[in-house]
Symmetry: C2
Amino acid sequence: MSDETDIPPPPWQRLPERPARRRRDPISRDAIVAAAIALMDRDGYDALSMRTLAEELGTGAASLYWHVGSKDGLLDLVMDQLIGEVVVPPADPARWRDQLKELARTQRATSLRHPYLVRLSIGRIPLGPNALRLNEAVLAIMRAGGLPPRMAVQGFLMMLEVVNGFTLDETGVSGEELPPDPAARAEAGDMVTGYLKQLPGERFPNLNELAGEFALADNDERFDLLIEVFVDGLARHAAGRDGAT
Amino acid sequence: MSDETDIPPPPWQRLPERPARRRRDPISRDAIVAAAIALMDRDGYDALSMRTLAEELGTGAASLYWHVGSKDGLLDLVMDQLIGEVVVPPADPARWRDQLKELARTQRATSLRHPYLVRLSIGRIPLGPNALRLNEAVLAIMRAGGLPPRMAVQGFLMMLEVVNGFTLDETGVSGEELPPDPAARAEAGDMVTGYLKQLPGERFPNLNELAGEFALADNDERFDLLIEVFVDGLARHAAGRDGAT
DNA sequence: ACCTGAACACCGTTCAAGT
DNA sequence: ACCTGAACACCGTTCAAGT
């Protein structure tokens, strides 16, 4: 699913050059990537080691290295595979702002479905085959919105950064082992609130007064607010006249 | 420098309770934190191990555990120490938007001075003594700007996330070992541009056409643009009338 | 072309034992 | 109260050797 394209890999890709496999054997590059994703979906980012992954596949750790070169190379493949889950509609000039907001939501949803994705993306330039498709589609929407070349690229980069910044925060705290069930999430929020409320009021009047607001906020609402602020702010830099709401 | 305050630690803090040290010995909690920061400033995030850090201090790894409890606990302390480098001016209602932008720049500067800081912050709630001071000061500026309680907290959280998202991107790629000197940075940019230019134009018209814009962008300008979009967008939610420029 | 076992050079952490 | 050596249970990666 990842190597039917004829696009040459970027020069820094950490993968060994291999001829395509003939039959679909129990162990193959794709099978390794799929198993890695399944393992991390289940047990979190830190649970992935070459040894445990190999065991899952019924081999020794050393066997994996022939297929994926290194753990780093494997994570490159995992990232592009997960990016492939983000689908973007063809650009519609009339709806470009809504399309951007919806794209941001889709991207966030993918990052929540695989809470290790953002952490995994750190230091990796998204230029695999799936990432290229996504990048092209996003840029198309930016251009459809009338953003000049420079702003289109900036908007593209900034949106990625904004969504990742938000999601990293969201998935970071206990985004590891256990799925962050609502109960644990609420408890953590209450713990913060309780701690802030009990702080000396002379030195921390605002933290004290606003303590309740920290637990209260729903992440979906928070995210919508953020991308509204961002996309509407971006629209003010478009060539056309559809500045703000 | 970190434990002269009387604020009780948050309940999830991973540190052992210890009486304050009498004399300033070669090995102490503060000395360990300082050495850890120096080590990571020099050799990067991954270079920090309890063993190498101990060697730097002329002891064995096991000795550190009495002072900091765990590596995780040590990183908690390191984070708060670095957050202490961010200084915020007292809130000035007339200049609140500029103050926010300047705060964002200061925060980014700190994250660039210690390129591992953002990575280190993942999954850690910033509620150490220095973080509390910073949070309080930022909230004060938000309130001074006329943001209602809910928006003040949201703005505070979102700004943190936006700055971290940008800086994570900036420091992630090769933000590890060598300091990201301009030469390597430019070369990496050229590599991306070259790769994008050579892509098949029928399938990737936008990536192809806009390839040059990726290398061209200066990060300082890019950051200013992002926080302008964000802060001005935020200002539209203030109670007062100073909506946009 | 693909897989294997064994080894190398690391980790974080614990713990009994020292002073 | 503080430090230590040694051990436990892990890592990613290499490499000679197998089929």
